[in-house]
């Protein structure tokens, strides 16, 4: 039976020996289809674990007990009636709190959406439901997905299940912690500049950022629309591939989504060129020795399997962080304009309509969200547009050009996901710029709209997980999975 191959998180210590919460999504489906496991039993054990341990981890903002139990019962009834089951039968999936699920609350971890109930279901979530997945709850995040530690939530601070003195990463810290702790088989997050990959790396799991356009963003609360993409967090590469195969589709609800057939075949990696960007491994890049050692080991492992490591250059990536923060802030300033206190969420009534807007937004948004709205508004304002927004878009074009050149010399690109392992809670909270820089290796991929995945690559001397990142050309997710399969075959 296929179980997670990751380290046992500390929050499992002193638990009586049970196994269902260690099952992967694929293994759960198999057992349910073989009638060896009931969806209700698979769900109950996860719920018990949440009850016992989430008081410490604080991954969930709300557990959807009633609707999850009803769905699990419906799946078991289908089985009993001999009806065919979906590809995700009985798989428990947690949602980041910026994904809409009709009839359920959604806050984006912000006070401004207190009491909001989603009137419809996000396309990606609906596709999971259509394949008989069980949505188990909504999980914590940095407010409106702005942050890298989940400490910017207006509600609670999530802990890293591997070491509770450390952050789980962000902004999808709740989904990553929930999966790493075994509270659910998988989760959906969103990745604007690394928000799926960075927490996956910090929590020791797999986090996929699909190619821009591969997964519909309909029902994902918009942060930066040209960068946002929904992606799965899982305990194996096989599960990542399984969830992607379900959520990837062209959707009339998102004009940027497109149909792209996903190859389920694995490519032969002999002769595959693995690009190593020299800028990412320079002394200036701030990569911890344990992290660069892990990437070196991976490179050697791939070379011994017949892949060909090649040095590549991404000269404009040093401007990626600045370009990203300007573009993301500008898009956020525009997208978050809809939170006016009138149509949804909490509102603070002023004497005039203008005052209602200002009070609602001033009191409803947290510090990081206000900071980014201010930065975006400034960068788009008369007199500064050319120096910031236009320049950032031009730098983005240069970064895309760098990647086009790099992908002429390499088939995939290998980098660390983050320069360091998970940092301590509170360590970077007072310094926004230091927090931004933890995404230095993940951001360029979003600017270029590429496919990327973070996967576990060992741990440092303190036992904290290290993540490796693989990048591929748009719609070449199959190459990412082929490489990981080869790496893991050697373990």
């Amino acid at each position: 039976m296929s179980k997670r191959r990751l380290a046992r998180p500390r929050c499992w210590d002193a638990l009586k020996p049970r196994t269902i919460f260690m099952l992967t999504a694929a293994a759960t489906v198999k057992l349910i289809k073989e009638k060896k496991l009931k969806a209700a039993a698979a769900l109950e054990e996860r719920l018990e674990l949440i009850q016992a341990k989430d008081g410490t981890i604080k991954a969930f903002l709300e557990v959807f007990q009633a609707s999850a139990r009803a769905r699990a019962a419906a799946i078991d009834a289908k089985t009993a009636a001999g009806k065919p089951l979906g590809k995700l039968a009985g798989v428990t999936v947690a949602l980041k709190d910026n994904l809409a699920y009709a009839g359920h609350r959604m806050t984006c971890a912000s006070k401004i959406l207190t009491g909001y109930v989603a009137p419809y279901t996000a396309t990606a979530v609906q596709r999971l439901l259509d394949e008989d997945a069980v949505i188990i709850g909504r999980t914590n995040m940095d407010e409106f997905a702005m942050g890298s530690s989940t400490e910017n939530s207006a509600y609670q601070t999530t802990k890293n299940p591997v070491n509770t003195a450390r952050v789980p990463g962000g902004s999808s810290g709740g989904p990553a912690a929930a999966v790493a702790a075994g509270f659910c088989a998988a989760a959906l997050g969103s990745d604007t500049g690394g928000s799926v990959r960075q927490p996956a790396a910090f929590c020791g799991i797999y986090g996929l950022k699909p190619t821009y356009g591969l997964v519909s963003r309909c029902g994902l609360t918009a942060f930066a629309s040209s960068l946002d993409q929904i992606g799965p967090l899982t305990t194996t590469a096989e599960d990542s591939q399984l969830l992607l195969s379900v959520i990837a589709a062209r959707d009339p609800g998102d004009a940027t989504s497109r149909q792209s057939p996903l190859s389920e075949k694995y490519a032969d990696i002999r002769g595959l060129r693995v690009g190593l960007p020299m800028q990412y491994f320079s002394a200036r890049s701030g990569v911890e020795p344990a992290v660069s050692d892990a990437i070196e080991k991976l490179t050697a492992r791939l070379a011994s399997a017949g892949a060909v490591p090649v040095n590549i250059s991404l000269p404009n990536c040093e401007y990626a962080m600045a370009a990203y923060h300007i573009i993301a802030a500008c898009e956020a300033a525009s997208n978050l304009g809809r939170f006016d206190g009138i149509r949804y969420g909490a509102g603070v009534k002023g004497a005039t309509l203008a005052e209602t807007y200002k009070k609602t937004r001033g009191q409803g948004f947290g510090p990081e969200v206000k900071r980014r709205i201010m930065l975006g508004t400034y960068s788009l304002s008369a007199g500064y547009y050319d120096a910031y927004y236009l320049k950032a878009q031009q730098a983005r074009a240069m970064i895309r050009r760098d990647f086009n050149a790099a992908f002429a010399a390499a088939d995939v690109i290998l980098t660390p996901t983050t320069p360091t392992t998970a940092f301590k809670l509170g360590e970077k909270l007072g310094d926004p710029l230091a927090m931004y820089l933890s995404d230095i290796f993940t951001v360029p991929c979003n600017l270029a709209g590429l496919a990327a995945i973070s996967f576990p690559a060992g741990s440092d001397s303190a036992g904290l997980p290290i993540g490796a990142q693989l990048l591929a050309k748009p719609f070449k997710e199959d190459l990412l999975f082929s490489v990981i399969r080869e790496v893991e075959r050697g373990h």
Partner: protein, 95 residues
Amino acid sequence: MDITTAEVERIAELARLELTPEEKTLYRGQLGHILSWAGRINAADIKAAPFAAPAAEPAPALREDAPAISGQGQAILQNARERELDFIKVQKVIE
């Protein structure tokens, strides 16, 4: 890069954000710091760059502009702060 309190107030007005005096002081320092750092973008050699296309390539595929019933009317109205019958109630827009 120095940002003045007047600039912070102007940006907050444009962004429809009511800030406390403490927030104005905080953002004045932090925005100045972040903008100085972001200003490094001006060192990028963008001679070869066109005005950047959006990330979506090829161009977005628009659906037919056909009227349809969403069936979500009541669920949407439930979220409004104030409503009257089937309308969302808004304060006077034109002063």
